[in-house]
Structures are given as C-alpha cells and as structure tokens.
C-alpha cells in the first residue's frame, strides 16, 4: 500500500489522474448506451459491449482500406482525415449493430410483454453470438467465397488473435505541468467525450425528439397517447447508444490500436459499472461514473498495484451503492428537467 506513490509528486498525481480520465472518458461514452436503453426500456442491454467492439473493428478496417496493411506511424494531424472516415464508419456500424440487436433480440420479446428477465437472457445470448461471430469472421468470408478478397480484413487462421491497426498514431506532448506532460491524443479523447456528452444532454433536454425520449422513459402508454411513437423512440435510443459507442471505439483505437473479438467484454463490464455507479438512467451520471471509475482504477493501481485495480473499482461500486442505492446522481432519464 503505497500512498506515497500516488500523492508523492505532482507529476505522479497528475499522470495517474489524467491517465484515468482518458480511459474514464471512453467508459463514459460506452456507459451512455447502457444508461439510455435502461432509461427508456428498463432493460440492461448486455449486448452493447459488442456494439462497441464492432465499432473498433470498423476503425481498423477503414485504416486498412485507406492505407493498406503496411505498418506506419502517423502524427495526429496527418491521421485526421482517415480518423474522420473511421469515425463515420464506426458510428454507422455500431448504430447498425445496435438496431439489429433491438430488432432481433428485444422487440419480439417486448411486444409479447415478456418478463424483463427473458429480455436480459436474450441480451446475454446476443452478446455471445455477436462476439463469436466476429471471432469466426474468416469462416463467414469463406462461406461467401470472399476469403481471398477480404483476407486482410479477416486475418484467416488467427481469428481470435488481436487485430491490430497497421497505423500507429504517435502521441505528442502538448504542454507540461509540474513534470507531467499532457499528450494530444489524451486531450482529444477527454474533450471529445465531454463534447458528445454535452451534445447528447442538449438533445435530450431541448429538442422535441429528446422530449419524446423522456416521455417514453416516464410512461410509454401516456407518451403514445400524446402522439409519441414509442417504437421509433426505442429505435432512436439504440441508435444514439450505438453512435456514442462508435465515437468511443474510434477514440479507443486511436489510443490503444488493437482490438479482438472479446475486447468489448471487459470494457462493457466497466462501462456498465460506471453507469450504475453514476445512477442508471441518468446521462450525467454515466459521465460522472465513467470518469470516477477511470480515475479510481488508476489510483488503485498506484496505491495497491495493477493487479488490484479491478478489486478497487468494484469495491468502490459496492460502497457507493450501499450508501446511495440509486447511484451517485440518482435521477432517472424520465425525471430530467425540461
């Protein structure tokens, strides 16, 4: 137990905290998907982790498509055009997968008024099916006889191995405070996450459609009576969750650069934890939960060692829920002020 490691020098403290904020921002963006679907449907979308994972593959595929498979190292400025295309592709694929999940795994059950537990089981099944489908992507390509054309994209024979983005994005230090240097990638990640959060918050609070979402979250039947189309609202909620996951996927690939078919699992569990910690159903709670979780993980690593990182995160979750069962910010989506 080494508190001196964390608080001993401004450089250490800033480094652990900012490093935690970077990953926390990614958790927060993924947590938005969980929290929004819960707010509207009272259902935990366990397959959201795979929505994120497909987004990461989309980013890697765009880089392979536009750059080729040769390794390269680019500066952030050089990478921006390809990153923007990758962002679009990731958002599109993630949103598409989210819609697919809604249509296939949830809507038939919810239309039959099945118990929420059944929908949960369906969610878990969808999560495994999607993850394994990505793990077997080379077999799918074989079935469609595209395995030669798509060889670079499906990496035959190593389907469950890590899938690397051939382009590594070099980090540059922007400015230095107290011995700690903030890198450009870290800044972009934190700022992007905050911007997306603000944009989503404004969408839900100020636009007509956002009001529709809040109405369905409060009471779907009354909302229908008021002229809101609940099915459409649910679809848009899933799409928004997918878009946020797509942004998270792009930022994640910018920073980490590798993915695999179960990359979504660990991040999904952490993001779900973050959503619950902040108050499930609460958008700002997702942001707060994500950032706190990221920072606490790093602080836990600093004090106890990296192997205790997950223990710290989950003990924190339990403590918060014991004191405040509805999460830190507590409010649900339906109760957000107009």
């Amino acid at each position: 137990m080494d508190f001196g490691n964390l608080f001993g020098s401004p450089e250490n403290f800033l480094s652990y905290t900012m490093g935690g904020l970077v990953f926390g921002a990614i958790y927060a963006l993924i947590a938005l998907g969980y929290t929004m679907v819960y707010g509207v449907l009272q259902l935990i979308n366990f397959a959201h982790s795979e929505v994120f994972m497909y987004g990461t593959f989309a980013v890697a595929w765009v880089f392979i498509l536009l750059h080729g498979t040769g390794s390269a190292t680019w500066d952030l400025g050089e990478a921006v055009p390809v990153l923007l295309v990758a962002l679009l592709a990731a958002c599109a694929l993630s949103a598409g997968v989210a819609l697919l999940i809604e249509r296939v795994a949830y809507r038939p059950l919810l239309n039959k008024n099945a118990p929420k537990l059944i929908a949960l089981i369906s969610a878990i099944g969808a999560s495994f099916a999607l993850a394994e489908a990505m793990g077997l992507r080379d077999r799918f390509a074989e079935v469609f006889r595209l395995d030669d054309n798509l060889a670079d994209y499906v990496a035959p024979g190593k389907a469950r191995d890590v899938f690397t983005n051939p382009v590594t994005i070099r980090e540059h230090d922007l400015f230095t405070i107290g011995g700690y240097s903030l890198s450009d990638i870290d800044l972009v990640i934190i700022v992007s996450a905050l911007l997306m959060m603000v944009a989503l918050d404004q969408f839900v609070r100020r636009t007509r459609f956002g009001r529709g979402i809040r109405a369905v979250a409060q009471d779907p039947e009354s909302a229908a009576l008021m002229g809101v189309n609940p099915t459409r609202v649910v679809q848009v909620t899933f799409v928004i969750g997918g878009l946020m996951a797509g942004v998270a996927a792009t930022l994640y690939m910018m920073k980490v650069g590798v993915t695999r078919q179960n990359a979504g699992f660990i991040l999904g569990v952490k993001a779900f934890t973050a959503a619950v910690m902040g108050g499930i159903g609460n958008l700002r709670g997702a942001l707060l939960g994500g950032l706190i979780l990221g920072v606490m993980e790093n602080w836990g690593s600093a004090v106890f060692g990296q192997s205790w990182k997950d223990v710290v995160a989950f003990v924190l979750l339990v403590l918060i829920l014991l004191v405040r069962p509805s999460g830190l910010l507590g409010e649900a989506l339906g109760k957000a002020r107009a």
């Binding site: 480094s15 970077v22 191995d161 650069g257 590798v258 600093a302 990296q306 990182k309």
Partner: protein, 372 residues
C-alpha cells in the same frame, strides 16, 4: 398457429445445418487400416494455441510439424503418419477437455505439445496416466518436469536457464542497474519473471502484475517512470508485451525493454508499432532457423525436431506408447534447433539462450546474440 410451426421448423433446420457445417471442418484426417504391430498410418497430435491471444506461436509449431511429416511421408509413402490438431487457444481451462479427447483416440500415438506451460501443467497428469508420450516444443516453466511425469519431455531450454540469462543480459550487456519486472500472472509468465527477479537481486527496483486482456497500462508506465528504472522486463506473451512497450515509449521511457520467448514474434512489432518496438530485446531458448528451413516462426524448428524424434521411434519399430517413450528417453541426436538429449526429468540437456532484437521496425530473426 401455423406461422409459429413453420418458424419453429425453419429454426430447427437452421440449427441443424449450422452444426453440420461446424462439425464438417477438418483438422487433419487420420487413421488408416494398419495391420497390428507397426504404427504406420497412425497419427500424431498437436495440442496448443492455434487461435487466440498467442495463436501465432501455435501456428508456427504446426508449420514445423507439417514440414517434418511432409518430408517423412515423401520418404516413406507406404507408412504415412498424419497430424490431428487440437486448438486449446493456449488456455489451461480449455486444454483438459481436449486432452481427454486425445487419450481416447486410439489412432494417436504421440503428442507434439502442449504448446504452453499453463496447459502442460493442466494436462500432464492425464497424459502420464494414459501413457501417451509427449514432447513439447515450447513449454518452458520449470515446475512441469518436477511433477514426475515420465512421459513429458521438451526440446527447449526451461525458464530457469532463460530467466538467469535474461537477468544477466540486462545487468551486464544492457548495463541496467534498476530493473522493473512485470508479468501477467500466468504460469509461464510468473515463472519466468520470478526467475528473473531472483537472478537480478539488488538490481530489481520494483515489480507489478497485469492481467491478460488489459489495455490500459498507464498506471504501470507511471510507476516505471517514478521508480527511475532504466530497464523493464516483461514476462508474458506478445499482445500485452506490445501494448506495454508502446505505452512505455509513448510515456517517454528511454530504457531497455526486454521480454521472453512468449513475446518473440513479429506480432509484437505489429501491436507495439514500429516506434514502440524499436530496440526491444526478446529472448528465446531457440537458435535461429537455418537459412533454407521451410517453416517459419519461433518454435517451428523445435516442433520439427520433436516430430522427427517421434518419426524416428516409429521407424525404429516402436510398437506402443511405452516403447516410444523409452526411445525418446534414450535418444541423442542433432536436430535443426541444436543437439538433443533428454535428462531423467524430460528436460533437454543442453540449451542456449539467444537475444533477438527489433531493429528498424522489424524483428530480426536471423542475427540474435547468444547470451553466455
């Protein structure tokens, strides 16, 4: 309702056809009608990681086995031996079920593998009790040969030798005086990192452990920087090694990055990126393959040699597992990977550790430095 019945029937048909497609995949055909006595037409098995985080290493081993079998079958067309592959994904949880399949298959007379230390420890007893001889091309954990499994052998030096050599390289050749050791908690990784820590003595400044699948190494990077370490040793496989190297370099770490044979693979460079991987030192108890050797990758030569020992036993007329095992125990010869002879525990008698370097964005597999 009729619609439900049609739907139900089509789902059932879909499920049935999918399972038939899945079962129809071939992982090597085997077994022919050999008359009793000699082992012609039987199979060798491979158990290891063909897919997964370290799948490239298993693929290398299969390359070596296939090459040896191709040469043997060309020379002995009326006594062909084939290979059955079992993909454990390198996981000690998945391997035992596959081990049971292997020992229940009467056509399998020998095992080249298991690939990794964790799965070796998990399956060694099963193979020993079934009397199936095995030669591993790559499992280096020291404790495997201390279990009393007389059917288990390896053609590669163990982590005792590798760990001591790595520590020696770091302190003497690289001139490091403060080494930070990281591992990922698996049997091989902890074993190797443990030996390195012991051998470093006072040069060890701190150590930590990550989990397989971790991608956020920022806390370890900061710990390394604040400890003032001038070298980092990572025990584990290439995926996490690459991520750690990349984030260390991005974080401004200028010292030596070294890892063991689990990372000695071109995928390390792919994961770390050229700038992250440059100047990394990757050790392996394996000499570079000869220039015209037909199979590529780390452990290909070991797997080739291991296969050839089995084939030599079969050619010599061994009739069952016990005779093959005796043949292996008394075998001496020169393989492509070096001189081979086994001691009474199944370890190879002589082994040399080589340091491979990453230069100019590529892993140089032809010019390592031997660590004396």
């Amino acid at each position: 309702m009729r619609l439900n019945k049609v739907f139900g029937a089509s789902v059932a048909t879909l499920a049935l056809s999918l399972s038939m497609v899945a079962c129809g995949s071939d992982d090597g055909d085997g077994g022919s009608d050999a008359d009793g006595g000699d082992l012609c037409g039987k199979n060798l098995a491979f158990l290891g990681a063909l897919t997964g985080d370290a799948g490239a290493l298993g693929q290398n081993m299969v390359n070596g086995i296939d090459l040896a079998l191709k040469e043997y079958n060309a020379d002995n067309p009326d006594c062909k031996i084939n290979l059955k592959k079992f993909d454990s994904q390198g996981s000690p949880e998945k391997a035992p079920a596959l081990a049971t399949q292997i020992i229940n298959d009467d056509t399998i007379v020998g095992l080249v593998g298991p690939g990794f230390s964790g799965e070796s420890l998990a399956t060694g007893k099963t193979f020993f009790e079934a009397g199936l001889p095995s030669i591993s091309p790559s499992a280096t954990n020291v404790t495997i040969t201390q279990q009393g499994w007389t059917t288990w052998h390896r053609v590669i030096g163990n982590d005792d030798a590798q760990g001591k050599a790595d520590a020696k390289y770091l302190t003497e050749t690289a001139g490091a005086s403060k080494v930070f050791v990281v591992d990922d908690g698996q049997d091989y990784s902890k074993g190797l990192a443990g030996t390195v820590k012991d051998a470093l003595g006072d040069a060890l400044v701190d150590s930590d452990q990550i989990s397989v699948g971790d991608t956020n190494m920022s806390a370890i990077v900061q710990a390394v920087k604040s400890s003032g370490a001038d070298a980092v040793f990572y025990g584990g496989y290439y995926t996490e090694a690459g991520l750690l190297a990349k984030q260390l370099r991005q974080g401004g770490f200028k010292g030596t990055f070294m890892s063991g044979d689990g990372s000695e693979d071109p995928n390390f460079v792919k994961v770390a990126g050229a700038e992250g991987a440059n100047d990394a030192v990757l050790s392996a108890p394996a000499a570079p393959a000869p220039a015209d050797f037909g199979a590529t990758g780390l452990y290909a030569t070991q797997a080739y040699d291991a296969t050839n020992i089995f084939l030599a036993a079969i050619k010599d007329g061994a009739k069952d597992g016990q005779e093959i095992n005796e043949f292996i125990g008394s075998y001496t010869g020169d393989g492509v990977s070096g001189p081979i002879a086994f001691d009474e525990n199944g370890d190879i008698k002589e082994s040399k550790i080589f340091a491979y370097f990453v230069k100019d964005g590529a892993l140089d597999v032809e010019n390592p430095e031997a660590i004396e």
